[in-house]
């Protein structure tokens, strides 16, 4: 199980308290689809993903981005219980969606970049390290039920 310092807990809660989920979620997912175009393989039913502009303006992408962020919030509220929190989603991504778990790291990196661009100087090296540790733990939990 992941050990969190009080500072890390506070930092994670602080980041998410200040985030505009409905903006950051879509920004992170659309960025992932632009920067790592092969991830589009999982979104063939989403409509026009033909170029960056189409992706950024795609309402299905935006809707899904919001869902992802709200699901991350569950992790923030259950930092000591991530494996259980994400067990169902892990099964879903493995058995129904057939998503290669390496992709979780890609969207996690894009989310880090979006948060960085929103927080600017406040996103210090220490804040980045805490966020990355949290996202890595979520990514690990999401990969747990694959077999």
């Amino acid at each position: 199980m992941v050990e969190w310092t009080e500072c890390e807990r506070a930092t994670i809660k602080d980041i998410f308290a200040k985030l505009d989920y409905d903006s950051v979620g879509p920004a992170a997912l659309s960025r992932c689809l632009v920067v790592y175009p092969w991830t589009q393989r999982y979104f063939s039913k989403f409509g026009n993903l033909y170029n960056a502009a189409a992706i950024m303006g795609n309402p299905n992408v935006a809707k899904h981005g919001k869902i992802i962020l709200h699901d991350l919030e569950r992790g923030v509220k259950n930092m000591d219980n991530l494996k259980e929190t994400y067990a169902d989603l892990s099964v879903l991504h493995s058995e129904k969606l057939h998503v290669d778990p390496d992709n979780f790291k890609l969207i996690s990196d894009c989310l880090t970049i979006v948060v960085a661009s929103r927080m600017g100087k406040a996103f210090t090296g220490e804040v980045q390290a805490a966020l990355q540790k949290f996202l890595a733990a979520v990514v690990s939990a999401l990969g747990r039920q694959y077999h």
């Binding site: 960056a52 979006v114 980045q128």
Partner: protein, 149 residues
């Protein structure tokens, strides 16, 4: 895939975008470079092992000068991406025979450089700029490790 091929994956527009961004960052080279290094040390403590001979505390002279060196090399490469292998030849030798930094660390540094750019540029670090920059830094790292073996 050879590094020359990687550089060729960048479109003309992307190369121009990258050249413009790095040219605009040259005046703040030491700040961006030091920021990226500090982020790397914070998130990936193993990377500090390559700097045991330097003072890498925030705003230290060593950190600023080292950060500046790295950013200026990246910026120089960006002015003619097609010639990366030529431009980086001396640095290739340095990294292969003297520094011998494990190349996985280049990925870690590149990621932290992208984060530093995001913090610095905010909304201007668009997904298109991010994609181009990620490709460029990957090509740069690949060229840097070409002489390792």
């Amino acid at each position: 895939m050879g590094p020359a091929r990687q550089a060729a994956m960048l479109s003309k527009k992307e190369k121009e975008l990258i050249a413009d961004i790095w040219e605009s960052l040259t005046p703040v080279a030491e700040d961006i470079g030091a920021d990226a290094l500090l982020r790397m040390f914070a998130s990936y403590p193993g990377t500090k092992t390559y700097f045991s001979h330097l003072d890498i505390s925030p705003r230290s002279a060593h950190l600023l000068s080292h950060g500046k060196k790295i950013v200026l090399a990246i910026a120089e490469g960006a002015q003619d991406i097609g010639q990366l292998t030529v431009t980086l030849a001396p640095l290739q030798t340095l990294h292969a025979y003297q520094l011998r930094i494990d190349p996985t660390n280049f990925k870690l540094f590149s990621h932290c450089m992208l984060v530093a750019l995001a913090c610095h540029m905010g909304e201007d670090f668009t997904p298109v700029a991010h994609a181009a920059m990620d490709k460029y830094l990957s090509a740069f790292a690949a060229v840097l490790s070409e002489k390792y073996r």
